[in-house]
């Protein structure tokens, strides 16, 4: 049983450059990790006997909507710049402690590392994050859309500035 | 029998036609009734009522079904092999219909009293396999193909124990003529083959358990031959949609449907004639008691139909109770258990007969 602060110390000592810091989002505390280091950090977290984070509870992609908002003439809006985040909630079934990791990538080039080789269940979660907010996971075995149709080309629906197309395969989409 | 009688004053060809049509008078109403009966039996087993709105307690349900199926569009998929696709249901129905020719419904009526009656029925039922294979292949549908392959493998394997059991009976009575076989089991219940036939003395006591086992084996194998649960893997609904008839619609599907129910009765009829005394009453006849001799064949027909339908009902009962086997387990049951067991029974019975 370790607290987030203790685990942060362990990680900071080992990967000083790749760990950005702790963010407080009450009631949770988040450890921010650099995108290209998430694979090795998570491999360490699962292999270290004192930590042993064997269970990835949830992996969520989210649009932080922190760019500059520009209004379009047709009433819609668009975010320029800003970041997309991937949040990992992990726990250890042996030591019963939990941890939240976060990776933020710029919206223009949303590339991060896949953790499928560490936690097999990340496969579909990552596909969903790709499908919904458009984060690209390097080294993912099969990064294709999962919930939306494979030929969907109108963008990523859970981005805040997503605009629905008028037609899909001849079917009217809006009400 | 009936053929000889009619041809004596009408000539051979009309007689053949008429004699051939007579089973139809029985089969079509029977199949309609059996479908209705199955739905009612299953419904009452499941705390339901089953068809209620079409006629009195849904009695006209299957008639409505058939009339509707006649009206349906006849779809032949463009990728299907059309000639085979069209022949398959006819062939299947022919196979199960032709089997009725040699079945003795009563002492006065048997379509064709042939000496190799049992073998003829087993042989002609083989046409059903050809029909199913054709249907599965011609549909150009993967589910149909898998279903057809499964049913071919299943029917071919399960014919072996069936034939061995028949051979056992042959070694006891020395005839394969179903009419003679039925006549041998006359007069009382304990002359039925399931109770060791007309054999007497200690041999009979030894024979009774053997014959019970043989009866169970042939009942199981015939169940497998008509693709009923727990051996319904060729049309396993939860795996193969509806197996070999997935692509069939309208009247062609109705033919498969009728063939299935006709077949159910055909195999029950064989089991009845072989083991359960055929058309003979277990108690004796009212017609003989009150001296009206023409009543006897009618009573016999009643008993035959009663026994057949009772066996069909057991088939339904099994269907709505048991889960289904997997394809490899099905083969294990046949090759590892039923065939050795039936051989063993055959050997013992033959030895007993020699003694």
């Amino acid at each position: 049983m370790k607290t987030t602060e203790e685990i942060f110390e362990v990680l900071k000592n080992r990967y000083s450059e790749d760990i950005i810091g702790i963010t407080n989002m009450p009631p949770e505390k988040i450890i921010d990790v650099k995108p290209d280091a998430i694979f090795k950090v998570s491999a360490f977290l699962i292999n270290d006997p004192d930590l042993d984070f064997d269970n990835l509870m949830i992996l969520s992609g989210l649009d932080d909507a922190n760019g500059t908002k520009t209004n379009q003439p047709d009433g819609s809006f668009e975010f320029v710049g800003g970041t997309l985040s991937v949040v990992y909630h992990i726990e250890s079934t042996k030591h019963r402690h939990k941890l939240v990791l976060r990776v933020s990538v710029p919206k223009e080039n949303p590339v991060t590392e896949s953790v499928v080789k560490v936690w097999a269940c990340a496969d579909w979660h990552e596909r969903e994050a790709y499908d919904m907010v458009g984060v690209i996971f390097n080294n993912h075995p099969n990064l294709i859309r999962i919930l939306m149709p494979y030929d969907w080309d109108a963008g990523y629906p859970l981005r805040k500035d997503y605009k629905n197309p008028e037609f899909y395969q001849g079917m009217k989409v809006p009400y | 029998m009936i053929f000889d009688y009619i041809s004596s004053f009408l000539g051979a060809i009309p007689a053949a036609v008429i004699a051939g049509l007579v089973p139809m008078v029985f089969i079509i109403p029977f199949a309609l009734f059996a479908v209705y009966w199955e739905r009612k039996v299953s419904a009452h087993m499941q705390d339901r009522l089953g068809p209620m709105r079409v006629g009195y307690h849904g009695f006209l349900q299957t008639i409505a079904d058939i009339l509707k199926l006649i009206q349906k569009e006849d779809i032949v998929a463009s990728a299907a092999d059309k000639p085979l696709f069209n022949i398959a249901p006819v062939l299947t129905f022919t196979g199960s219909y032709a089997a009725f020719a040699a079945i003795p419904f009563s002492s006065a009526y048997i379509g064709a009293n042939i000496d190799l009656g049992v073998l003829y029925i087993i042989g002609v039922s083989g046409l059903v396999v050809a029909g199913l294979l054709m249907a599965g292949w011609a549909s150009n549908n993967k589910y149909s193909l898998l279903g057809a392959m499964r049913s071919a493998a299943q029917i071919v394997s399960y014919e072996i124990p069936t034939v061995i059991v028949i051979l056992t009976l042959f070694s006891m009575v020395g005839t394969l003529n179903l009419y003679e076989l039925s006549e041998l089991q006359s007069s009382n219940m304990f002359n039925w083959m399931i109770f060791g036939g007309t054999v007497t003395g200690w041999k009979k006591i030894v024979l009774i358990p053997l014959m019970f086992a043989a009866f169970l084996i042939i009942y199981l194998t015939t169940l497998a031959e008509v693709n009923r649960t727990p051996f319904d893997i060729p049309e396993a609904e939860s795996e193969l949609v509806s197996g070999y008839h997935t692509e069939y619609s309208g009247m062609k599907f109705a033919m498969f449907f009728l063939a299935e129910y006709a077949n159910m009765f055909a195999v029950s009829a064989i089991v009845t004639s072989l083991f359960l005394g055929g058309y003979h009453s277990p108690f004796g006849y009212l017609g003989n008691t009150i001296g009206i001799t023409w009543l006897v064949p009618i009573e016999q027909f009643f008993w035959f139909a009663f026994k057949g339908i009772a066996l069909v009902t057991v088939q339904m009962w099994l269907r709505w109770t048991l889960p289904r086997l997997r394809v490899d387990q099905l083969m294990v049951v046949c090759w590892k258990y039923l065939i050795p067991l039936s051989f063993l029974i055959f050997l013992i019975v033959s030895l007993l007969m020699v003694l």
């Binding site: 989409v173 | 068809p51 209620m52 006649i70 997935t246």
Partner: protein, 164 residues
């Protein structure tokens, strides 16, 4: 539709009686496609199960669309599924009927505004005979929908209706 579909220009007593028989057989034996989409499918299953018993009306589920007359669109139709439903409908032989069960398949239901992946009404891809409202409709409502469909079939005609 099957034989004698709208082949006559006038009604007569034979045709009317024949027509009644044909309509009766069609409405009494509506075999449904064993096909469920979403929440409403559970209520549809409950309707087929012991308590409500669809079989009383002669409705039994058939696994293959080739052998069925009725498709109950029971649940939300998504864009990904809509094309498959259309295909399924096309695979059914005529005469065929469609019951749209539940708000979602009637008009998009609660997903009408923000549902970027929900088809707002299955009638955008297949013609619908009876709409059953509710989210999800109770089994009684589905039975009512079936009775409405039977009423509709009862009034169908073989005769070509000439509009003046």
């Amino acid at each position: 539709m099957g034989i004698l579909d709208k082949e006559f220009s006038q009604e007569n007593i034979v045709i009317t009686k024949f027509e009644d028989l044909m309509n009766w057989s069609r409405l009494s034996s509506l075999w449904q496609v064993g096909f469920g989409l979403a929440c409403c499918a559970i209520e549809m299953m409950a309707t087929s199960a012991s308590h409500y018993d669809f079989d009383r009306f002669g409705v039994i589920p058939r696994p293959s669309p080739r052998q069925s007359d009725l498709i109950i669109i029971s649940g939300t139709v998504t864009l990904k599924m809509a094309l498959r439903i259309k295909r399924l409908y096309e695979q059914m032989p005529d005469p065929k009927y469609v019951i749209s069960m539940g708000s979602c398949s009637n008009c998009g239901g609660p997903y009408w505004e923000h549902g970027y992946h929900v088809l707002k009404g299955v009638d955008r891809v297949v013609p619908v005979d009876v709409y059953v409202p509710g989210c999800p409709p109770r089994p009684e409502a589905l039975l009512e929908g079936l009775l409405k469909l039977q009423e509709k079939i009862r009034n169908e005609s073989l005769v070509k209706k000439v509009t003046a």
